[in-house]
Amino acid sequence: MLKIIIPTIMLMPLTWLSKKNMIWINTTTYSLLISLISLSLLNQPSNNSLNFSLMFFSDPLSAPLLVLTTWLLPLMLMASQHHLSKEPLIRKKLYITMLTMLQTFLIMTFTATELISFYILFEATLVPTLIIITRWGNQTERLNAGLYFLFYTLMGSLPLLVALISIQNLTGSLNFLLIQYWNQALPDSWSNIFLWLACMMAFMVKMPLYGLHLWLPKAHVEAPIAGSMVLAAILLKLGGYGMLRITTMLNPQTSFMAYPFLMLSLWGMIMTSSICLRQTDLKSLIAYSSVSHMALVIVAVLIQTPWSYMGATALMIAHGLTSSMLFCLANSNYERTHSRTMILARGLQTLLPLMAAWWLLASLTNLALPPSINLIGELFVVMSSFSWSNITIILMGANITITALYSLYMLITTQRGKYTHHINNIKPSFTRENALMALHMTPLLLLSLNPKIILGFTY
């Protein structure tokens, strides 16, 4: 695993020592090369995990997330070139350093064996993200957004630290490789109920669960493009990944403790999808759509069946790529009109036809069109929740319909119709932007040919 971590750390000296006209080229190229190295991890033998050392391992759940993380760094760098072009050189290098630091912590989080090390790196991802949001965001609301982001996550995760340490005292080791073989049922008591809550709340806030999601629209909207991309694509999945890892230790309380969260998620996904229909702010729409998709992942993880785990994993990867692509598309609008209001930039299909093709593909994958992996994820979740309880099919079906409604609403508002007269002089699409969209879309489409690599460890 050091063969991925050390090159990522070395991207930082690369940035600081590059010349002015080479920083973007150097960093994007080398981060693409690092992502190619991580692809080799997808070759997972048998049912066991690939253990690199006592500290790092990768199994069929963390490998796709790792590949997604390393794939996203060059994309983030490509997307940030325009809004940083007017900044002084040192600030550009600082920005890239923040992104690289975040990348290092994320790679180490997804491959950590020891759960306390996972916790420390999980918290460590907060610091660069906070700096990116508050320093390079565009509106005054970004300060509030940073505070909400930091404090919601910290309030949820400090009980997790105490819970992990008390589990370590009880069982003697928190090394995940050991725990998966030595699984004992948690005795039924009030303190174990609180232990369950303490373990899960951190990831619920991160996902986010419907009642605790207030930080997400703020943070996603106020962040600059790279911040939005990494928040939507990876940081939310940290919550899902953590939940998938820790629920193996928390039986049998999950069978009754999960009910309130299941209800919140099932209701929440409908609520947040419906709010999307009434949004005027494009980034806010995409942010709420993230909450809705993640609510599906929460339902899947809490039901704890093999199919639902497959659906959760597939949905996480698919949503990561789709959401990141939607944010890039919204950013291409923002860079031209400097406004996030949807109706200010209508009828773009006439002006930017190739971008309209990317908008169409992104919207179609967002509404889970077959045969994309979004559909595979959602279908598995719907089927497993139907087997858990027949009534959920009504809510799931309603959610799929409303998702289709708002995705098409977004598509039609921005692309179709007559263009507004004030945008007839926008710059045409850059090759960089088209390359960005293609690099998002191609993995998404190719994965539909071989989805078993993203189906996780219950395949």
């Binding site: 610091v127 508050t134 300060l143 930091l150 910290l154 400090l158 105490v162």
Partner: protein, 346 residues
């Protein structure tokens, strides 16, 4: 002040603390405390104005009261044990009185009221000595009598200190008062784990001293005593603003910086001793501390605060030298990966 006299007085302060830390006779310890107190008064009053006089008087009164309480506890201990050697305290009353006396010296709740007022009234360098060096002597005595301290009183004081330190700092814009409330909260963390594992108290003290030293050095460098004046540093030396950001986040206890290490170790030690609600409450109350550190970073490093044009010319003047800044910065932010080295302390 005449440099020779200043050196003598400073040496007396140092000698006083050394006597406290190295004596085995209770009377010598008390003498050391008094030496320390008397010698630090001129240092607190380096600038001769009514504000400093008021602060020094308050400091003298509280510390003298604490010394008298300490003397009474020593005498009661003498009465019950018949000897002056510092081992453990032989009588619960003496133990309670001694704990209160030392808490008064440290600035733990409910004896914390002097800390913000005294720190605000004196200069930045004197405030630095007050909040770092002066904590060493009482803490060393607490370390030595730790087996015989009443757990209930100590834990109550610790938790209340963390609460007061977090809550009280929320309304402050003066940097010295912010550092004072931060000191109250950190003292709370240190005393919470004293009965369970005193080594962690020393670890927390070490890291707290490094972080506070760094913060004060950065404040002294930009000669700023209010949030507003600190927010002008991006005009003069933008690098200092980054260092302020890192050190403040470390003081708030965010991983992966070294300020997280004492908090983590303390939570681990408390959880091992089967108290679960206490460390959870302590950790959540430390978030209050983080809030006002974040507010400070917002005005200083993460935004380019509006400033008048003559602020932008300050870079042309010579900057003050900061003693030992690079090692301090490294130690106050990058020590977390060295946590396994704590096993050498056994």
């Amino acid at each position: 002040m005449n440099p020779l006299i200043f050196t003598t007085i400073l040496m007396t302060v140092l000698l006083g603390t050394m006597i406290v830390m190295m004596s085995s006779h209770w009377l010598m310890i008390w003498i050391g405390f008094e030496m320390n107190l008397l010698a630090i008064i001129p240092i607190l009053m380096k600038k001769y104005n009514p504000r400093t006089m008021e602060a020094s008087t308050k400091y003298f009164l509280t510390q003298a009261t604490a010394s008298m309480l300490l003397m009474m506890a020593i005498i009661i201990n003498l009465m019950h044990s018949g000897q002056w050697t510092i081992t453990k305290v032989f009588n619960p009353t003496a133990s309670i009185i001694m704990t209160s006396a030392l808490a008064m010296k440290l600035g733990l709740t409910p004896f914390h009221f002097w800390v913000p007022e005294v720190t605000q009234g004196i200069s930045l360098t004197s405030g630095l000595i007050l909040l770092t060096w002066q904590k060493l002597a009482p803490m060393s005595i607490l370390y030595q009598i730790s087996p015989s301290i009443n757990l209930n009183i100590l834990l109550t004081m610790a938790v209340l200190s963390i609460l007061v330190g977090g809550w009280g700092g929320l309304n402050q814009t003066q940097l010295r008062k912010i550092m004072a409330y931060s000191s109250i909260a950190h003292m709370g963390w240190m005393t919470a784990v004293l009965v369970y594992n005193p080594t962690l108290t020393m670890l927390n003290m070490l890291i707290y001293i490094m972080m506070t030293l760094t913060m004060f050095m950065l404040f002294i460098h930009s000669s700023s005593t209010t949030t507003l004046s600190l927010s002008h540093t991006w005009n003069k030396t933008p690098l200092i603003t980054t260092l302020i950001l890192i050190t403040l986040l470390s003081m708030g206890g965010l991983p992966p910086l070294s300020g997280f290490m004492p908090k983590w170790m303390i939570i681990q030690e408390l959880t091992k001793n089967s108290s679960i609600i206490l460390p959870t409450l302590m950790a959540i109350m430390a978030l209050l501390n983080l809030y006002f550190y974040m507010r400070l970073t917002y005005s200083t490093s993460l935004t380019m605060f509006p400033s008048t044009n003559n602020m932008k010319m300050k870079w042309q003047f010579e900057t003050k030298r900061i003693t030992l800044l690079p090692p301090l910065i490294v130690m106050s932010s990058l020590l977390l990966p060295l946590t396994p080295m704590l096993s050498i302390l056994d």
